[in-house]
């Protein structure tokens, strides 16, 4: 068996994005004497939180209330969000964003020097705090730089976690981390582990997500028997650039931009797509469906990367675009050769965000003792069937912090850890990766399997879904599982072997995709982002529950969990 190195900490955070960094700081403050490992497959400032553009939501203005933010979120979720979670979230949100302001985040300001807020889809009033159109970049760098001042946060940069380590009593007490630089395996052991590994948009071909968003944390938990919750709910953002899928933020519409078809019509105003007077500021699920319908009715435009509609910002004028949306201007010019000051931007719906994820309670604890999850990889049930834009960065802060504080308490109750079983597992994991590296004997090509997976997901789990195509998608994905086990890998090197990482990621993507497709197939109604052509209506009688998808060797097993309702009664979702 391979030799491995052993590292010990009190708690371990896997992921250095918005959720992971916030958790690390909260843990460092909750107990300055505890040692915190922060493990990330890329340097923290490369995490995909960096790409968020529009803003982060929290009540800030005199004309706004927590009640309104709560109701907007519940309604946006199509009544599948857990209301006790939502109430806690809206209450903590202003405090968390205020802390970020104290730590130096360069928020855009009103004339009187207070923090400025902008309109966002599905939000009744202006409550999205912003930094021009680069909130994620500034949030990530502010958190990362602030984290450097805590000496009890020990970073493992460019370490890929490939397995959770489970003690004899069945609880999670560490991770197996592959040091990408050296190819060595490390057993990082602690009393509790938090997954903050982000979403998995890369299982789809056309996505706003970066290369690193492969759903690793979801797969890690799933393989240890932790259910994935509400995986069928995938958010399509209405405005991605054709070809690359690069996001054009909803803030473009928050600042007054129009969506138009080939006749120059503002179709959200001209036809009834359920968004009412909100028009371009309706929620994302509805607007994405409207765009698909416009295109299907022949009112789209066509380009080298398929059909699209236009996002017209020209009437905002150059000064406003340069002040509020400078990054959008750069993205338009650089990636589609369009200057939005002069011409409309081509856009089409694009896979953006996963509402589902690792099932947790309000403390971010999973069913596996010692394992926590927060941020996009988790499903604490804030977002239900459809997330409102700008709620998720705030979610990373609110629940990253809460989970870390809870974990700190939990860790104190845990005595001496018996390393033996953990070390054995890490050694077995080292062997597994050694055998994978430069594995010539397989017959399958990595990029080909990834393409097949992408195609299956796009055809089965798009904006509009049907029972027969979802079934076919699930079958195709299940078949790919076998093919992933037979990959041919050509790179034998131990040093920065990105091929072996891609192979591990691909296996994770297949697990996540399979859970997603199985969950989607099981929900025979239309709710939020899950739109089933065979079942076009919401069915509260039979489907007002969370889908729980559990791993089994013979395929995903679907179960249910109650939705926590509260003082907002389910009603028809009409704007």
């Amino acid at each position: 068996m391979s030799a491995i190195d052993l590292y010990r900490h009190d708690i371990i955070i896997v992921g250095g994005g918005g959720a992971g960094l916030r958790a690390a700081i909260a843990a460092a403050e909750a107990d300055p004497s505890q040692s915190i490992a922060l493990v990330s497959k890329v340097y923290p400032m490369r995490s995909h939180t960096v790409s968020a553009e529009g803003g982060a939501a929290a009540v800030a203005r005199a004309d706004d209330t927590l009640e309104m933010h709560g109701y907007d979120t519940v309604k946006g979720s199509d009544f599948l969000g857990d209301q006790h979670v939502i109430e806690y979230f809206v209450e903590e949100a202003p405090k968390e964003l205020t802390l970020l302001e104290h730590w130096g985040l360069p928020f855009s300001r009103n004339e009187d020097g207070t923090v400025a807020t902008r309109a966002f889809g599905g939000m009744t009033t202006k409550r999205t705090w912003y930094a021009a159109d680069k909130i994620g970049f500034h949030m990530l760098h502010t958190l990362f730089q602030t984290s450097l001042k805590y000496d009890n946060i020990v970073r493992y940069d460019e370490h890929f976690v490939s397995k959770l380590l489970i003690a004899n009593d069945g609880s999670c007490r560490g991770v197996a981390a592959h040091d990408i630089r050296t190819g060595e395996m490390k057993a990082i052991i602690g009393k509790a582990v938090m997954l903050t590994t982000g979403g998995g948009g890369k299982i789809f071909p056309f996505t706003t997500n970066g290369m690193i968003k492969t759903g690793d944390g979801m797969a890690l938990a799933y393989r240890e028997g932790v259910p994935l919750k509400d995986m069928e709910f995938v958010q399509y953002h209405p405005t991605g650039l054709p070809g690359t899928g690069i996001l054009i933020t909803e803030a473009t519409r928050g600042e007054g931009g129009y969506l138009t078809n080939k006749d120059g019509e503002r179709f959200l105003v001209e036809r009834d797509y359920g968004v009412g007077s909100k028009a371009e500021l309706g929620p994302r699920d509805m607007i994405s469906r409207a765009i698909v319908q416009e295109i299907e009715a022949g009112r789209g435009l066509s380009g080298p990367y398929g059909d699209y509609v236009n996002l017209d910002l020209r009437h905002l004028g150059e000064a406003k675009i340069d002040e509020r949306l400078p990054f959008v201007r750069l993205l338009g010019r650089t990636y589609v050769g369009v200057d939005p000051v002069k011409d409309p931007l081509p856009i089409r719906p694009v896979v953006h965000y996963m509402m589902g994820g690792v099932d947790t309670d309000i403390d971010c604890a999973t069913q596996l003792s010692g394992l926590y999850a927060a941020g996009e990889t988790a499903c604490v049930s804030l977002n239900g069937a459809n997330r409102l834009g700008s709620n998720s960065l705030t979610e990373c802060l609110v629940f990253g912090a809460r989970g870390a504080r809870h974990m700190t308490q939990y860790a104190k109750s845990i005595g001496q850890i018996d390393d033996k079983a953990l070390v054995e597992q890490a050694k077995a994991e080292a062997d597994r990766i050694d055998q994978l590296r430069g594995r010539q004997k397989g017959g399958e090509k990595l990029s080909e399997i990834r393409r097949k997976l992408n195609e299956a997901m796009e055809s089965g789990c798009g904006v509009y879904r049907q029972q027969d195509t979802m079934k076919a998608c699930l079958q195709d994905v299940s078949q790919l599982r076998g093919r992933v086990a037979d990959l041919q890998l050509t790179d034998p090197s131990r040093v920065f072997n990105t091929e072996v990482i891609a192979a591990l990621e691909l296996a994770n993507m297949v697990d996540v995709a399979e859970a997603l497709a199985a969950s989607a197939l099981s929900r025979k109604e239309s709710r939020g982002a899950h739109t089933c052509k065979d079942y076009p209506h919401r069915d509260d009688q039979n489907y007002l529950y969370h889908t729980m998808c559990t791993f089994s060797p013979s395929g995903p097993v679907i179960g249910k969990k109650d939705v926590t309702l509260g003082h907002w009664e389910p009603e028809e979702r009409k704007y």
Partner: protein, 247 residues
């Protein structure tokens, strides 16, 4: 869309096998709207999966994909291939040790970065309950530009001082320290200025301005270094006039 074939000459180096870096050529069918990164990804996916490089966001904001393209430091996901002829040389960023192929060693930078205390320093932290600070638009614009650095390291590759004096903390770290010094919410300037007066920091800069020329985010680190020099001197002079912690 139009496609042309271009030849890419990549630096290859695997410390497990190679004594020194070598090059390898690949022919790639390039679409006219491709960036340099698209071609490298094509090579990795379709021709030679053993090529190692860093990338993630492909939208010029995560800072991972810096490389030398025909001898100049570039953000490869932002650099159009249409600007190049039919032979494109791609090397790892200059002035850094190579880890593997197109991947360079960043640990030294991470230490330099931390040494400027890139966080808000205050004698007393304000509680969340006390609300946000007020900051005027002028106060914001005093540092905003210097907060836009994505840590892509192109400026270290371009800097003639970094090339000769590896201990030099470099443009990005100085710009970041200066960013916090200029923030109306911060009280840590004197600590950072002390750091700036040490050897290998602002006074090592020969004002070549190369850093600002290659910066893909218009941070203008050269301006930051210059302002930081000035402030570090003023701060020192104040200390002479008022020796024992006078204000």
């Amino acid at each position: 869309m139009r496609e042309v074939t271009k030849t890419f000459v990549l630096t290859r180096f695997d410390p497990d096998q190679d004594e020194a870096p070598r090059t390898q050529e690949y022919k790639v069918p390039v679409r006219e709207d491709w960036k340099v990164l698209d071609a490298i990804n094509f090579i990795k996916d379709e021709i030679d999966p053993s090529v190692s490089h860093r990338w993630s966001c492909r939208m010029a904001v995560c800072g991972s994909c810096g490389m030398m393209v025909n001898g100049e430091p570039k953000l490869t996901c932002k650099t159009a291939l249409s600007d190049y002829g039919d032979r494109v040389e791609i090397e790892p960023l200059a002035n850094f040790p190579i880890v593997r192929d197109l991947v360079v060693e960043l640990e030294g930078f991470m230490d330099k970065f931390k040494s400027v205390k890139p966080w808000i320093v205050r004698a007393k932290q304000k509680a969340a309950e006390e609300g946000t600070y007020r900051q005027s638009t002028e106060e914001l614009s005093a540092f905003k530009q210097f907060s836009m650095c994505i840590n892509c390291m192109l400026c270290y590759s371009a800097c003639p001082v970094v090339a000769n004096e590896p201990e030099f903390i470099g443009p990005a770290a100085i710009a970041l320290g200066h960013r916090y010094n200029m923030d109306s919410r911060d009280e840590g300037a004197s600590e950072r200025n002390q750091r700036f007066r040490e050897e290998g920091t602002v006074f090592s800069c020969s004002y070549a301005n190369e850093c600002s020329e290659v910066c893909p985010k218009d941070v203008d680190p050269a301006a930051a270094v210059n302002q930081a020099k000035f402030n570090a001197v003023i701060d020192w002079a104040k200390g002479l006039v008022m020796p024992k912690g006078g204000s």
